[in-house]
C-alpha cells in the first residue's frame, strides 16, 4: 500500500510547534516530527501518549534487587556458609550496598536496551531521513493523506503561512 506524505520543512522550533498544532486542528494525521534537538512541547502537540518506560525500568530494577538479595542469601547462608569473623551467615544489612548497585545496574541497562528495542535502533541501521538536514538545522513535520477530503493545496498553504522553508510531497511504497 502506498502512502502519500506531505512534509513541511521549517528552520526554527517555534514554527514547527505551530505547524504541528495547526495540522492537528485541521484534522490532519501527523505521522512524525523530525528535529535536530528535543523541542519542548512537541509531544503534547502531537498528542503522543506518555512513555511507559519508567514503569518498565522500575520493574527491572526491582527484579535486579530481588535477584541479588536472593543470590547473596543463597551463596552466603545456603550453598557454602563461611564463618567470617563470627558474623551471621545471613547478614542482611551487609547485603544492602551490592543490592543497591545491582538494582541500579539492572534498571539502567534495562532502560537503555528497552529504548533501543522500542525505537528500533541497532548498529549500522540505515537512517532514512524525510528531508536532509533534520540532524543539523531543519525541522520536518510529516503529514499523511488519510482520506479523500485531504486537500494538498490546503496543507501547502497552512505550512507556507507558518513560514515553512519548503513543502515536499512524497509517495512511499513501504509502510512505516
Amino acid at each position: 500500500m502506498s502512502k502519500r506524505l506531505f512534509i513541511g520543512v521549517f528552520d526554527n522550533e517555534g514554527s514547527t510547534l505551530a505547524a504541528v498544532r495547526a495540522s492537528r486542528q485541521h484534522g490532519f494525521k501527523v505521522v512524525d516530527v523530525y528535529a535536530p534537538y528535543a523541542v519542548h512541547g512537541v509531544e503534547e502537540a502531537m498528542g503522543l501518549a506518555p512513555s511507559r518506560l519508567p514503569w518498565f525500568v522500575f520493574a527491572v530494577g526491582l527484579l535486579g534487587a530481588s535477584l541479588k538479595v536472593w543470590f547473596e542469601f543463597w551463596t552466603t547462608a545456603v550453598d557454602w556458609p563461611v564463618n567470617v569473623g563470627g558474623k551471621p551467615f545471613n547478614s542482611l544489612p551487609a547485603f544492602v550496598p551490592v543490592t543497591f548497585e545491582v538494582m541500579v545496574l539492572f534498571a539502567a541497562v534495562g532502560a537503555v536496551l528497552s529504548f533501543f528495542v522500542v525505537c528500533r535502533l541497532y548498529p549500522a541501521k540505515r537512517a532514512v531521513l524525510p528531508v536532509s538536514g533534520v540532524t543539523d538545522n531543519r525541522f520536518a513535520v510529516v503529514l499523511e493523506q488519510t482520506d479523500s477530503t485531504f486537500e494538498p493545496a490546503e496543507v501547502e498553504k497552512m505550512f507556507k503561512d507558518l513560514h515553512a522553508v519548503r513543502v515536499e510531497e512524497q509517495i512511499t511504497g513501504e509502510t512505516a
Binding site: 512524525d32 516530527v33 535536530p36 523541542v39 512537541v42 503522543l48 548497585e101 541497562v109 529504548f115
Partner: protein, 458 residues
C-alpha cells in the same frame, strides 16, 4: 520600561549563534587536520602513557614487591591513586546527572567532556586495585561466578566486594549515559561527513538515529531515568569507597563522617579537574563562545562550595578526635598535623581550604589563568588528602613497635605518571573524534537570555 532585556538572564552561549553555526562550530575542528598544538600535547601524554605501561609490565612480571609497601603500610600509593581517580570521575556525573535533575541548563556546554572525563578517570582508577591483587590475571575472581573451587563465593560482607560492584556499575552506567547523550550528535556527524570512513563509522554507531520525535520523546525519558539512577549511584560509589576505610577499626579511618566527607571531596576534586580540562579544551578547540567565562564562574562557585564542605569535614574530624577521649584517635590527628608527614597535611589544608577562598572574588573567578592555577592546586591538595588519610593512619597505628615509614618507589611514581598519560591521551583523542560539546543539547538552550521573537510555548 524600555530596558526589558536587562531583566533577562545572561545567555548561556555567546556570539548569537544559529543552530547551523552550532553544528559547524563543534564539528568543523574535528573534520579539519589536527593542529600542531594537539600533536605536541598528544606526544607528551602518550609518552607518559608509555612510561606507565613499562612500569606496569615490570611490576606485574616482578610482583607487587616493587612497591614501597611493607607489613605496616599495606595500602599506600596505589589506593591513594585509586581513590583520587575515582573522585575525579564524580564531577562528571554531578554535571551530567545531578545538575540535569536540578534543571541547570548551563551544564549543556560542559557535560559531554565532563562525562568523558568520568569514564577515563574510572579506567585509570581501576588499574591500581587490579594490580594490587598481586595476580591481576585472576582479577575476575572478584566476580561471583560458579567455579570449580567448590563454588567458593565472594564474601558479600566485605566492603572490597561492594567496591567492585560499585565501580563496575558506575563505569557501565556512565558509559551508557555518555553514549545515549552522544547518539543524536553521531547522527549529525554521519549526515554532514564528507570523508567516507567517518560517514561509515558514525553510521554504525548512530544506530540509525533520524531525529524522529517518537524517538526523541523516549530519548528524553531514558535520559531522565539515567540521570535519576546516576545521582544516587554516584553518591553510593564514593560512600562505598569510604567504607573501605570506615569499616576498619584503625584510628583516623573508623569514622561515621567518612561517606559524606568522601563524596564532597570527590565532587570537589572532580570539579577542579573539570575546570582544568575545560580551560584547556576551550583554548585547544576554540570553544570560548560555548564554554564562556560564566561557565567557569559557575564551576568555580561549585569548587568553593565543596571546598567549604571539605574544610568543615577536616575541622569536624579533628574536633571529634579531641572530644572522643580516645587517645589513639587524638594521636592520629596530632600526628597528621605535626608528625613526619606534616608537610603533606598542610599542603592538603592549604590547597583545599585556603587557596579556593580566592574564588570568593569575582576578579579571580573571571581570570582564566588564575582559575587554572587554583584548579591544579586543588588537584594536588586532593591527592595529598587521600595520601594523608591512608598513610598516616597505617604507618602509626596502636602499637609503636609496629610503626614504620612509607615512601613510594620509582615504579609506583611511574605508574601514577602513566595513568595521567592514559587520562590525557584518551581526552585528547576524545577532543578529536567526538563532539566536545553536546550539539543537540546546546541547540536547545540557544534561546536562553534572548528576547523572545515569537511566543513558542504559549
Amino acid at each position: 520600561m524600555a530596558e526589558a532585556a536587562i531583566a533577562l538572564r545572561p545567555p548561556l552561549i555567546d556570539g548569537d549563534k544559529t543552530i547551523t553555526e552550532v553544528t559547524h562550530d563543534v564539528c568543523a575542528p574535528m573534520e579539519a587536520r589536527p593542529t600542531a598544538l594537539w600533536w605536541s600535547a598528544l606526544f607528551v601524554s602518550s609518552s607518559l602513557l608509555l612510561v606507565g605501561a613499562i612500569a606496569i609490565v615490570y611490576q606485574i612480571s616482578v610482583g607487587v614487591g616493587t612497591w614501597g609497601l611493607n607489613r605496616t603500610v599495606g595500602w599506600a600509593f596505589d589506593i591513594t591513586n585509586f581513590v583520587f581517580w575515582i573522585g575525579i570521575g564524580h564531577a562528571g556525573t554531578l554535571i551530567s546527572a545531578i545538575l540535569f535533575l536540578f534543571r541547570q541548563r548551563w551544564r549543556t556546554s560542559v557535560n559531554r567532556a565532563a562525562e568523558a572525563m568520568t569514564i577515563f578517570a574510572v579506567m585509570c582508577a581501576g588499574i591500581f586495585p587490579v594490580i594490587h591483587t598481586g595476580r591481576p590475571w585472576f582479577a575476575y575472581w572478584m566476580f561471583p561466578y560458579p567455579n570449580t573451587r567448590g563454588s567458593l563465593w565472594v564474601n558479600f560482607r566485605s566492603p572490597l566486594v561492594w567496591d567492585f560492584f560499585a565501580i563496575s556499575t558506575y563505569l557501565t552506567v556512565s558509559a551508557m549515559f555518555w553514549f545515549i547523550g552522544l547518539l543524536p550528535d553521531l547522527a549529525t556527524i554521519r549526515d554532514r561527513a564528507t570523508a567516507k570512513w567517518r560517514r561509515k563509522l558514525a553510521g554504525v554507531l548512530s544506530l540509525g538515529w533520524t531525529g524522529s520525535y517518537r524517538a526523541w520523546q523516549r530519548y528524553e525519558v531514558v535520559y531522565l531515568m539515567l540521570a535519576g539512577l546516576g545521582t544516587p549511584l554516584v553518591i553510593s560509589v564514593h560512600t562505598i569507597v569510604s567504607w573501605d576505610f570506615a569499616t576498619a577499626v584503625l584510628p583516623g579511618w573508623h569514622a561515621t563522617i567518612f561517606p559524606p566527607y568522601f563524596v564532597a571531596s570527590a565532587i570537589f576534586s572532580g570539579m577542579a579537574m573539570v575546570l582544568t580540562l575545560m580551560i584547556i579544551a576551550r583554548k585547544l578547540m576554540h570553544l570560548e563562545d560555548y564554554i564562556t567565562i560564566r561557565h567557569i564562574e559557575r564551576m568555580s562557585k561549585l569548587v568553593i562550595t565543596t571546598s567549604g564542605i571539605v574544610g568543615l569535614a577536616y575541622a569536624t574530624e579533628f574536633f571529634t578526635a579531641l572530644y572522643s577521649g580516645s587517645s589513639y584517635e587524638q594521636f592520629v590527628f596530632l600526628n597528621r598535623a605535626l608528625g613526619p608527614l606534616f608537610w603533606g597535611y598542610w599542603t592538603m589544608v592549604g590547597c583545599n581550604v585556603f587557596v579556593p577562598q580566592l574564588l570568593w572574588f569575582r576578579k579571580v573567578r573571571t581570570c582564566v589563568p588564575a582559575v587554572f592555577v587554583i584548579s591544579i592546586l586543588v588537584n594536588v591538595g586532593m591527592w595529598f588528602e587521600r595520601f594523608i588519610i591512608i598513610v598516616t593512619s597505617l604507618s602509626r597505628d596502636f602499637i609503636p613497635a609496629n610503626w614504620f615509614h612509607y615512601a613510594p618507589t620509582r615504579i609506583e611514581v611511574a605508574t601514577l605518571v602513566g595513568t595521567f598519560g592514559l587520562f590525557f591521551t584518551l581526552f585528547l583523542l576524545f577532543c578529536r573524534f567526538v563532539p566536545v560539546i553536546a550539539v543537540a543539547e546546546v541547540k536547545g538552550v540557544l534561546k536562553y537570555g534572548k528576547p523572545r521573537m515569537e511566543s513558542a510555548h504559549e
